[in-house]
């Protein structure tokens, strides 16, 4: 039978099975894979591990981290006693949270508009966001500095919140547009026919479907503001210290207090890790859309 002859023939290797890796034994291939993953993981995690290590070392042992065996929590105690650091910690949390909450409403509606509407208003808004996104981030800073000075909001919550909200809108409207692009608009059409107004269809049908996207957005907004340095550096001073800026102030004319800076940085990592840990599920599903 022809079928039998066909079966005895060696099958042609699949295209993707040819090449360097196919020559390895399956075990070696797996070992290679793990080695690669561990290597990359180490490269990414190394700075953080080094940071944690530094924060646990006394100031005197700073440059001998790799040799020393002496560990201490004194750095953390010292940082906790520093009222500026604590104030900055609280300020950062308040500003990140407020900026996220306040920008979310605008970002979501703006993303929805970019996704669903055509016409002069939508395309005008699109152009504005696009232009602001294209402008180098750093070039926003000087005008904002002058503006906040003139408006009398320099070094206040408001003075830092407003620019952050603006950035959120410009940068994350796109993200939200992406989420809504992934949601079938016919659901909203069905809602329109089922008795909803356009706004009703958005709030009652599109928005609930976008919850994973919203959560992802909130996480990203919060982390952005929490980690942001440039605006904070130029738009705040002693009245409203912010954690990232305070951290940088351990660099001064008498030297760099690496141990204290690291301890503060490790403290700053805490909430960010927490948010990322609980939010990553949404961020991943959200970005998948």
């Amino acid at each position: 039978m022809t079928v039998a002859t066909l079966d005895t023939r060696t099958p042609m290797p699949h295209k993707s099975e040819r090449g360097f890796f196919s020559l390895m034994a399956p075990g070696a291939r797996r070992a290679f894979f793990y080695l690669f993953v561990i290597g990359v993981g180490f490269i990414i995690a190394f700075p953080v591990l080094w940071l944690v290590l530094t924060s646990l070392r006394p100031a005197s042992g700073m440059f001998y981290v790799h040799r020393g065996t002496e560990f201490t929590l004194d750095n953390f105690f010292e940082v906790f006693e520093n009222r500026i650091v604590i104030k900055a910690y609280i300020n950062s949390a308040i500003i990140a949270t407020l900026a996220t909450v306040l920008s979310l409403g605008i970002t979501v509606t703006s993303g929805y508009m970019l996704s669903r509407f055509r016409g002069p208003i939508a395309s005008g808004w699109f152009s504005i966001i696009y232009v602001f996104r294209c402008v180098p981030y750093i070039s926003w800073v000087l005008p904002l500095y002058i503006l906040t000075q003139n408006l009398g909001v320099y070094d206040t919550y408001l003075g830092l919140l407003l620019p952050h909200i603006a950035v959120h809108i410009c940068f994350f409207s796109w993200l939200m547009k992406g989420f809504f692009d992934g949601i079938d608009p016919s659901m909203e059409y069905a809602a329109l026919i089922d008795g909803c107004t356009r706004w009703g269809a958005f709030v009652r049908v599109a928005l609930p479907s976008a919850v994973p996207g919203l959560a992802a957005l909130a996480v990203l907004c919060w982390l952005w503001t929490w980690n942001e340095f440039l605006f904070a550096l130029l738009l705040t001073s002693h009245q409203t210290p912010v954690l990232t800026v305070v951290m940088a102030q351990f660099v001064h004319e008498l030297g760099i207090e690496w141990n204290l800076m690291s301890a503060t940085a490790v403290m700053a990592l805490g909430p960010a890790l927490l948010i990322t840990f609980f939010g990553q599920k949404y961020v991943i599903t959200g970005l998948k859309i």
Partner: protein, 369 residues
């Protein structure tokens, strides 16, 4: 229930016309199917009736009321979408209740209506599930249920079966027919599938390039296509079309060097075209093996055995192909010369330039009315 009237309906996007002047009256309780190739404007027309698309010109009235400027929710319509468009974050029950709650009906009344619709569609066990946990067929039933519970004046269907596999599609088609008996309402159904159009429609509206090509009952559009496009679109396999030339008397037509009689029925209409070139159409199912009446000879190029029937691709003269549907056990071999007979009464004639059908006067009059 209500009559739906489209009057010189136009839709253009920028300079592009998607729908170019459509006049159509769908009588109260009728099931009209808009059918045509993609981009013919059928979905746009439906969406304009629904109010999801703005109207560029003309009017739409439902039940004697012009609805041009009414939002969808005030048009008293219900729509089934191609991808079901169920509210993903709600249970099936809440999906069905959504429209009724918007109308502020009492929960007791809603439960009653949903129970009724659910029993018609046999979706009672699914009530607490979410759309994602349902199969395509079940989702489609729920989408139908969402329409039924509202008792709208008009049902709109936007290719509701095209996401289902072939077997399920045939099943749902039958269910839709059955549903019509139980829930009679004016319906507009959009599809690109001519089988759905023929089997479901009381009225079949064939569209192309934003224009209506023909409106008629399924039998009318099958038996008397208004032009070459309709002739080719309705029926599978498609109608065979040849170039032909009428003789001076308009009684015979020369096709591939063979003179065919035009038949009693067509003679009067063809008189005006005597001596001119025409397109001659014949449906595969009307071609029979044998040698009586009009005859054509060809060699068998391809045989498609379907079990219930056999399709023969015949090659005649200058690469003209003809498909004939014959009995599955006909003793035919590849490349064999066969003679087929073509009943003169089954021939269709079309103007070679305008591609419009050349039809007996009585018939064209009746259709226009």
């Amino acid at each position: 229930m209500a009559e739906v009237v489209l009057n010189q309906l136009v839709k253009s996007y920028g300079g592009m016309a998607a729908v170019r002047s459509i006049d159509l009256t769908i009588p109260d309780g009728a099931f009209a199917v808009l059918v045509g190739p993609s981009g013919c404007g059928k979905s746009t027309t439906l969406r304009m009736i629904a109010g999801l698309e703005e109207i560029s010109g003309g009017t739409i009235s439902i039940g004697g009321r012009v609805v041009n400027d009414l939002p969808p929710k005030d048009r008293d319509i219900a729509m089934v979408f191609q991808n079901y468009a169920l509210y993903q974050h709600m249970t099936v029950y809440d999906n069905l209740a959504f429209g009724l709650r918007n109308r502020k009906e009492s929960e007791a009344r809603i439960a009653e209506k949903i129970a009724h619709a659910a029993s018609i569609l046999s979706i009672e066990p699914l009530m607490q599930r979410r759309p994602k946990q349902l199969s395509g067929g079940q989702q489609q039933r729920v989408a139908l249920g969402r329409c039924i519970v509202r008792h709208p004046q008009v049902f709109l269907f936007d290719e509701p079966l095209s996401n289902l596999d072939a077997k399920l599609r045939a099943q749902m088609r039958i269910e839709l027919k059955r549903l019509r008996e139980r829930v009679p309402a004016t319906s507009v159904y959009v599809t690109h599938d001519q089988v759905e159009a023929m089997t479901l429609g009381d009225i079949v509206v064939i569209m192309k390039d934003g224009l209506i090509q023909q409106v008629g009952t399924p039998l009318q559009v099958y038996n008397d296509p208004a032009n070459l496009f309709v002739a080719g679109f309705i029926g599978a396999p498609a109608m065979n079309v040849f170039k032909g030339k009428l003789d001076a008397a308009g009684e015979k037509v020369m096709v591939e060097g063979v003179a065919l009689s035009v038949g009693e029925r067509n003679r009067a209409a063809l008189r005006g075209h005597a001596g001119r070139e025409v397109m001659v159409g014949i449906r595969p199912e009307h071609i029979a093996l044998g040698s009586h009446g009009n005859q054509l000879e060809g060699s068998v190029d391809v045989i498609e055995q379907l079990g219930s029937e056999m399709h023969l691709d015949l090659k005649m003269g200058n690469a003209a192909f003809t498909v004939a549907r014959v009995a599955p056990d006909a003793p035919i071999r590849l490349h064999e010369k066969v003679t087929v007979s073509i009943p003169a009464e089954r021939l269709h004639f079309f103007d070679a330039d305008s591609q419009q059908a050349i039809r007996p006067a009585s018939l064209s009059g009746a259709l226009a009315a």
